[in-house]
């Protein structure tokens, strides 16, 4: 069986949760997993009778940012529809979504194609909708957590233009980097903030029509998606070559057994009965607002990466930043001081990623916010804290969060700038180690480092080695 005589066609649909403070249509916190279950809920996201949706401006703004970052045209008049189906995680029995007038469309995103050349993946549409509640299972029962219900969700749909699982994976990785970089979404896969579905078909080379398509749902990771697409390509070829019939259906990925399985056949397909949401008038997207959003956006992702090279970052560092999804973090940290980008990059690669390893918690799972990281790095840079204090501060910010200055103060990490206190510490060390001081005076200068160490220890993390060192030498001279 050979795949060579077939052309593979893959289209990808991605859902991402937008990084807003509140939900799409109500003012409950959009932090489904950061608060106890069913505490970020109100009549609107519970779907109680009489509750009405009001659109979150920030969700629309982030949607426009995404559309612009993906080179899409933004429609100047959009509306929402009701997508009707019943499921216990869908509190109203319909999802407010968009079908006829998406927020944006006709865009593209460039990847390196299978032939090694740059390839534009065409984006069909970008639209806004709301998330469902979360279902979990306990014994014979299911539990519903409504925190996620109504969370702002964006769907990004490509044209069927990818030719392999590799291209699909490349597209999704790049998409994720761009969305994170632009602050549209945190895209944490393990939290379900980014969910991927791929449509796969194969057709004989030269055929004018696409083959029968299967849809692979909710992939847990990019490599899973790639494996699933590659498996489907082989399965389709096998079915065709053995004279069988392919069915349009939805399949899931069984990672343990490295195969897909049928989830739903076309006959079971829902009739969603879309119609315009009567609780929301159409929404005008003022082109002037779009322009303003565009002007406020960060440099394009590609340009930013090129700029990092110009800043003197090594390709290896850039690769590390990209692998750790830290480019967006870096951009936000350096937003007000782009000239400090290399400094922040160095601290990220050297110190923050070390923390990610030692705590087994990725940067985007940590409590460290870009502003706090920036302030901590500047405290070190300006000599307000010492290297040891910086590492302690970073560790605290990473695990517990907070503002840098406040945490540094609370943990007494600021260096002792009061020379009197350092001198006092030196006097005490000298008094307790008179023999060593005598040895030094006798010419055994090697004991100087031991005395330095004891003074540093006495001062704790407040000690700035440069200051202590200077004062110690002064004191030894006069001793």
């Amino acid at each position: 069986m050979s795949e060579r005589k077939y052309v593979t066609t893959v289209g990808v649909e991605v859902h991402v949760e937008l990084a807003t403070r509140t939900k799409m249509f109500c003012s409950c916190l959009n932090a489904p997993q950061d608060v106890p279950p069913n505490t970020a809920v109100c009549p609107v996201c519970l779907g109680l009778p009489g509750s009405l949706p009001v659109i979150n401006r920030e969700a629309v703004r982030l949607g426009v940012v995404a559309a612009l970052a993906l080179n899409c045209a933004v429609n100047d008049r959009i509306w929402f529809e009701r997508k009707n189906y019943m499921y216990p995680d869908l509190v109203k029995g319909y999802q407010i979504s968009q079908i006829v007038s998406p927020l944006g469309g006709n865009g593209w995103l460039a990847i390196i194609g299978d032939d090694g050349e740059e390839k534009r993946i065409l984006i069909n549409r970008v639209h806004l909708e709301e998330d469902t509640a979360r279902l979990s299972h306990a014994g014979d029962n299911s539990l519903i957590d409504v925190n996620r219900s109504g969370a702002p969700l964006m769907e990004i749909v490509t044209e069927p233009v990818m030719r392999s699982g590799r291209e699909a994976e490349e597209y999704v990785r790049k998409l994720r980097a761009i969305l994170v970089y632009n602050g549209v979404s945190r895209c944490r896969i393990q939290r379900g903030e980014m969910r991927v579905e791929a449509n796969v078909s194969i057709a004989p080379e030269g055929a004018t029509r696409l083959g029968v398509r299967t849809e692979i749902k909710n992939q847990a990771g990019f490599n899973h998606m790639r494996s699933a697409v590659e498996y489907e390509v082989r399965r389709h070829a096998g079915v065709i070559e053995s004279g069988g019939t392919l069915h349009q259906e939805t399949r899931g990925w069984d990672d343990a057994n490295q195969r897909t399985f049928v989830q739903r056949s076309k006959e079971d397909a829902h009739d969603y009965r879309y119609f315009p949401e009567p609780d929301l008038p159409p929404l005008k997207i003022d082109p002037a607002w779009v322009k303003e959003i565009g002007a406020g956006m960060a440099t394009g992702y590609e340009d930013y990466v090129r700029g990092l090279l110009d800043h003197g970052l090594s390709p290896a560092d850039i690769e590390a930043l990209s692998r750790n999804d830290a480019l967006g973090f870096l951009r936000l940290a350096a937003a007000d001081m782009p000239e400090k980008t290399p400094l922040f990059a160095k601290r990220l690669v050297k110190d923050v990623f070390a923390l990610a390893n030692s705590t087994a918690m990725a940067l985007d799972e940590s409590k460290l916010r870009p502003a706090a990281f920036r302030d901590a790095a500047l405290l070190l840079e300006n000599g307000k804290i010492a290297a040891e204090g910086f590492r302690t501060l970073l560790d605290l910010l990473y695990r517990e969060g907070g503002a840098a200055e406040q945490v540094a103060r609370g943990n007494q990490l600021f260096v002792e700038t009061d020379h009197g206190a350092v001198e006092e510490a030196i006097r005490k060390v000298f008094a307790g180690n008179a023999a060593m001081v005598a040895e030094f005076k006798a010419g055994k200068t090697a004991v100087r480092n031991a005395l330095l160490g004891r003074t540093m220890k006495a001062l704790g993390k407040k000690a700035d080695p440069r200051v202590v060192s200077g004062l110690l030498d002064e004191a030894l001279k006069n001793a």
Binding site: L48, P49, N84, R273, F275, D279
Partner: protein, 496 residues
């Protein structure tokens, strides 16, 4: 002459306020009298689903004479009112007239309820209604039919059946209802009351169990035009929690209500009054109003309303489509009545199958069919286009006249229990649904009586012109007497 204590509750809203301010009686006297009257009329009428005796008495006790704001600024301090049972009340059962919500206690107040509470109103309870506001007789309630206080053998009209009946028998001076295709105006007319369906978006829908979201409006039912305007002024205005709420500045209507109709242009369609199925008394009532407004200095224009006959077809599609999805949330998961089945899906189906009445199921089926793949263009989309024709035609017509007069219904109220096909029932809304389709305000008001029953007329105006409707109705009211109205009757003898 002192007012008999048991008659306090049958005073108008304005008289009630004046009495409270003057210290003629206290809020506790008033609530006591209201509850007593309600208790005596309820066995025969069934206007109320749930009474809040304790809550109302406790609220009344807080309104001492000193607590009632002086002056004549409109407010409702110490005044008992009733709410249709699809208007959410925090911590107090709200059923929408349905078995499926028989134990539902909302954790929030509707925006209109917040306004009433802020104005000092005392909510005595929740009024009966056709299930989820689907019906025009008051018979489609899971809590039994409401009977007409003018003649208990007849229907009250619907769907705001209980709100109309409790005001008509003098239980409270005012109530709120909701109107999707005539559900305030039609029972108002059948019960001799004034009922307002305001411009769509004038009164917040937040916290109102939806039937047809693009058609629904909350509005007042009262015994006088001034009372109606007073209550309307208190509940109207912009609400940021309802995205369809209008931001246009709102001018209270009560201040202009005595300004008359001199210089108004008022239109009616004489041909329509002759058409088949329009009861002579209802056509005559319109003609009588035409004569009254002419006498009062208005100019009268004869117009033709050719779209009216298409209204029922388009309206029922739109309303059923919206209702079919509005009611999808009642799934047996978060609400009270749950019929446990073999599995989750069986539970859903049983809960909905047993929890919804037949008219509700029929409309859900109808609406889902009209939205389903392959039928959407022929039904929903077509109806939505016809709706645009209505809006355009009436906007044009009403830019040249101050009001258009129509009967409220073609026919008088039917006897309780008399069967009619769904379509025959729907045709009763032919004149009222016009205003909901176009989004314009419309007011029903009594014009006289025929065979011992009140007869009303309806006036429609352009967007935001509620004030013109009140001026017109107030002018007519001065010429109208309703003999032997139930609110003026003594409390019936006997107990429960």
């Amino acid at each position: 002459m002192p007012i008999a204590k048991e008659s306090y509750a049958s005073l108008t809203l304005e008289e009630t306020l004046a009495g409270l301010r003057a210290g003629s009686f206290t809020a506790s006297d008033l609530v006591g009298a209201a509850l007593a009257r309600i208790e005596r009329f309820e066995p025969a009428i069934n206007a109320m689903v749930t009474l809040d005796d304790a809550g109302a008495k406790a609220a009344a006790a807080r309104w001492s004479r000193d607590a009632i704001p002086a002056g004549d600024a409109p407010n409702l301090s110490g005044v008992p009112v009733a709410l249709k049972d699809n208007i959410m009340t925090r911590g107090f059962r709200t059923t929408c007239g349905s078995k499926i919500l028989a134990n539902f206690v909302p954790p929030y107040d509707a925006a209109t309820v917040e306004k009433l509470r802020a104005a000092g109103a005392i909510i005595v309870g929740k009024a009966n209604m056709d299930e989820f506001a689907m019906g025009s007789t008051g018979e489609n309630s899971a809590f039994g039919a409401t009977r007409n206080p003018w003649n208990p053998e007849l229907v009250t009209g619907g769907s705001s059946s209980g709100s109309a009946a409790v005001v008509a028998y003098g239980g409270v001076p005012a109530a709120l209802g909701t109107d999707t295709g005539g559900s305030i105006r039609q029972p108002a007319a059948f019960c001799g009351l004034v009922g307002m369906k305001a411009t769509y978006g004038r009164v917040s829908r937040s916290g109102v169990g939806a039937l047809g979201s693009s058609l629904d409006q909350v509005g007042p039912l009262t015994r006088t035009v001034r009372d109606n305007a007073l209550l309307y002024d208190l509940i109207a205005g912009h609400d940021p929690s309802d995205s369809t709420s209008l931001e246009q500045p709102f001018t209270p209507t009560l201040g202009e209500i005595e300004d008359g109709v001199k210089g108004f242009r008022i239109a009616y369609d004489p041909g329509l009054l002759e058409s088949e199925g329009v009861h002579r008394a209802h056509a005559d009532a319109v003609r009588a109003v035409v004569a009254m407004v002419k006498d009062a200095g208005a100019e009268v224009a004869e117009v033709s309303l050719p779209l009216v006959k298409y209204g029922v077809a388009a309206y029922y599609i739109i309303c059923a489509c919206e209702a079919s999805t509005n009611l999808a949330r009642f799934d047996g998961v978060r609400y009270s009545v749950r019929e446990t089945g073999a599995d989750m899906w069986d539970t859903y189906s049983k809960t909905r199958g047993l929890g919804f009445g037949e008219e509700v199921k029929r409309r859900i089926m109808m609406g889902s069919y009209a939205l389903s793949s392959g039928y959407y263009d022929a039904y929903y989309l077509k109806a939505a286009k016809v709706r645009r024709l209505f809006a355009t035609e009436y906007e044009k017509l009403l830019s040249g006249v101050d009001a258009v007069l129509l009967p409220v219904t073609p026919a008088p109220p039917r006897p309780i229990g008399q069967k009619c096909t769904p379509l025959e029932c729907y045709l009763g809304d032919v004149f009222t649904l016009v205003a909901n389709m176009a989004g314009i305000p419309a007011l029903a008001f009594p014009v006289g009586a025929h065979d011992g029953l009140p007869v009303g007329v309806q006036a429609m105006a352009g967007y935001f012109r509620e004030s013109a409707l009140y001026r017109l109705a107030r002018t007519v009211e001065k010429n109208v007497k309703l003999p032997d109205a139930p609110w003026a009757r003594p409390i019936p003898e006997g107990g429960k």
